[in-house]
Symmetry: C2
Subunit: 193 residues, 2 copies
């Protein structure tokens, strides 16, 4: 499975061939198809595996509010140690917008779920009124976007991009901007805030 993951990361889904994956795994193409039925289903399995090694454990034990936002910065820090998974995600998420891509629904659902989680965390951390869904969702999309966009830049020029520092700058700036009564200019919680 890691061979398939690495091949999709190195070539993209469309350009990866089952023959190459089978060859690198020491299997025949028929052997791979016996287990996974199709290249698209192999991709699904790879994405599920990636979720387990995953950036956001979306289960019940997930940190909430401010802790979740800080966890995203930690994730950016850890991602700098896992180039393969970052590349897989960066390549496939963007490729998913091409015509008839088999991971399109996967990424659409994933962003929907993430948006809701991050928006909830921002609402909780900043004590935003429940009816102000627009600000929370726009800020949530921005937080997710900065993490994604940094990955592509970092893959191209790791020495020029500090994913954790840039993510932290944005999260901290948004907290202070959305809740100046709660967060000081460096993101520190104000006394009594």
């Amino acid at each position: 499975m890691h061979i398939a993951m690495n091949t999709f990361a190195a070539r993209g889904y469309n350009n990866a061939s089952l023959a190459e994956i089978a060859d690198r795994a020491g299997l025949t193409q028929a052997g791979v198809l016996h287990y996974f039925r199709s290249k698209a289903l192999l991709l699904t399995s790879v994405l599920e595996l990636r979720d387990q090694s995953g950036i956001e454990q979306l289960g019940a034990g997930r940190p909430q509010g401010l802790a979740f936002l800080r966890h995203l910065v930690d994730t950016a820090l850890r991602n700098a140690e896992r180039e393969g998974i970052v590349r897989l995600y960066a390549v496939l998420s963007a490729e998913s917008v091409t015509d008839d891509h088999p991971a399109q629904d996967y990424f659409r659902d994933r962003y929907d779920g993430l948006r809701a989680f991050v928006a909830d965390a921002l609402r909780e951390a900043c004590e935003l009124p429940d009816e102000d869904t627009e600000t929370a969702e726009n800020a949530a999309n921005a937080v997710i976007a900065v993490m994604d966009g940094l990955q592509v830049q970092w893959l191209l020029a790791p020495g020029s991009v500090d994913m954790a520092a840039s993510t932290d700058l944005v999260v901290t700036a948004l907290l202070t901007s959305l809740a100046p009564h709660r967060f000081g200019p460096d993101g520190e919680i104000r006394p009594g805030g």
Copy 2:
């Protein structure tokens, strides 16, 4: 050329075939190769054309400082009217991190150039000390990243993503965070700031 652009946007570079591009253009494959020599050179021409229709006119008339940062928000607004170019850019920039991709140098250079422009604009707008290159570059990478990341989300779910509003939130929050003496909580320039 627009046919090649649309085909690369719809399929990615690796998965686009010269035969399909030629067919849609009413040419033979030999005819396309006569003009462009190779699929990789055709890609280069498409990227140059895209730069002309371009998000950032990097010439001398480019707005400076705060005006440049506001221009990026306008760009995000205009991008919501040009799905084709956004898709081309989102797909190719991420695909460029795959092995031996012919646009890898193009995107590496492009991010280097953009990083320098945005960092300069932030330094000027926020009156950051020249020696504080790290903060300006981390913030610049974040601004570029948020614009890129939003494009993928928007392509997958245009109704759930307001690229301009999310970009504006981040630019405004960063300005206030980097230069609280100059910018108020809504990004307005403070009197005398």
